[in-house]
């Protein structure tokens, strides 16, 4: 693999991470957890501990998920990646992209997401009950898991793209994906920690929710089309299948 191929692969990983970043579940949980903590008159340093624990949990789970999926694919696939795997990943990306366009938010009011209500109620009650950094760490882990319905497509494609790279580039790619995909969460954490009002953040999220929904859906759609073109159509024309 040439260095140009490596840069192209890492660019696609960054695109997948940006799509992951536009999903809103973990941001909603962070907003709720911080709102409840402030309502309980939690001291500033304890609030920062809670936010730090949550961000760390989300980072660990995102890194573990991508590492696990890449390891699994690396174990199952020997030699060049068969076209079927790319087709599954691209199909998932296009399918989830269209679903995000149509169904991401439930109703007009607020930022209620189309996730199983059991998950949402569990996350809601846990965000109320979270009082220590350890609990917020586990809340960060579970909020990323609850988002799997949406993030499995970018993670699937990012893992497929990472496995042909050299080990050091794989590690770099995983860290790059985790950092970019959690960037909005870090920014919201910083804003809350530095004294911004939860109501301002929530108002911004509500005003821009349709744009974020459109961006996430379109991003997935384009990612699926690009990878399909690059790995199936171009590869078959070059006789690489």
């Amino acid at each position: 693999m040439t260095s140009v191929d490596t840069y192209i692969s890492l660019s696609v990983v960054i695109l997948a991470a940006f799509i992951h970043a536009s999903f809103q579940l973990s941001i909603s949980v962070l907003t709720l957890m911080s709102g409840h903590a402030l309502g309980r008159k939690t001291a500033r340093h304890r609030l920062i501990n809670l936010i730090g624990g949550y961000l760390f949990g989300a980072t660990v789970m995102t890194t573990l998920l991508l590492t696990f999926v890449a390891y699994l694919f690396g174990s199952l696939i020997t030699g060049p990646i068969p076209g079927l795997w790319w087709a599954i990943g691209c199909g998932a990306a296009v399918g989830v992209g269209v679903s995000v366009w149509l169904f991401y938010y439930r109703g007009q009011l607020g930022t209620v997401l189309w996730i199983p209500r059991g998950f949402a109620q569990h996350l809601d009650s846990r965000s109320k009950a979270t009082k220590s950094a350890t609990e917020s760490f586990s809340l960060g882990l579970s909020s990323i898991l609850s988002e799997m319905l949406f993030i499995f497509a970018p993670i699937f494609l990012a893992a497929l793209i990472l496995i042909p790279l050299s080990p050091d580039m794989q590690l770099f790619g995983i860290l790059l994906y985790a950092t970019v995909s959690l960037l909005p969460l870090y920014i919201i954490g910083l804003l809350i920690g530095s004294g911004h009002k939860i109501s301002h953040i929530q108002r911004w999220r509500e005003r821009n929710k349709r744009f974020l929904q459109f961006a996430a859906g379109s991003g997935l759609f384009l990612l699926g089309l690009y990878v399909y073109n690059e790995k199936i159509i171009v590869a078959s024309m070059l006789g690489g299948l």
Partner: protein, 94 residues
């Protein structure tokens, strides 16, 4: 309070319960504190709004929790618009 007023819970899935002014005050205070309102201002807004809403509730045989939420948000908006926004929208974040 003179008589018990039933509060019909959201979407009717849970059992009705008697109107509780302390519970109402706690929820208003929590919304004020969540948007970083100073303690004294939060207490003042809470007592004013809880008083007005209690008077409104006492005229009804039964109210829904959504009605109370809208009333609180409407009155709280005059004292603290940010807290009113958070009070009304905190259940539609997730």
């Amino acid at each position: 309070m003179g008589r018990a007023i039933d509060v019909v819970k959201r979407s009717g899935k849970r059992k009705s319960e008697a109107f509780d002014i302390d519970k109402l005050s706690r929820s208003i205070h929590l919304a004020c504190m969540s948007v970083r309102t100073p303690e004294g201002e939060a207490e003042s807004a809470t007592s004013h709004v809880a008083g007005i809403v209690t008077l409104w509730v006492e005229k009804k045989p039964a109210v829904t929790s959504d009605d109370i939420r809208r009333q609180v948000a409407g009155h709280l908006h005059r004292y603290h618009p940010e807290a009113a926004y958070y009070y009304l929208h905190q259940r539609s974040i997730l």
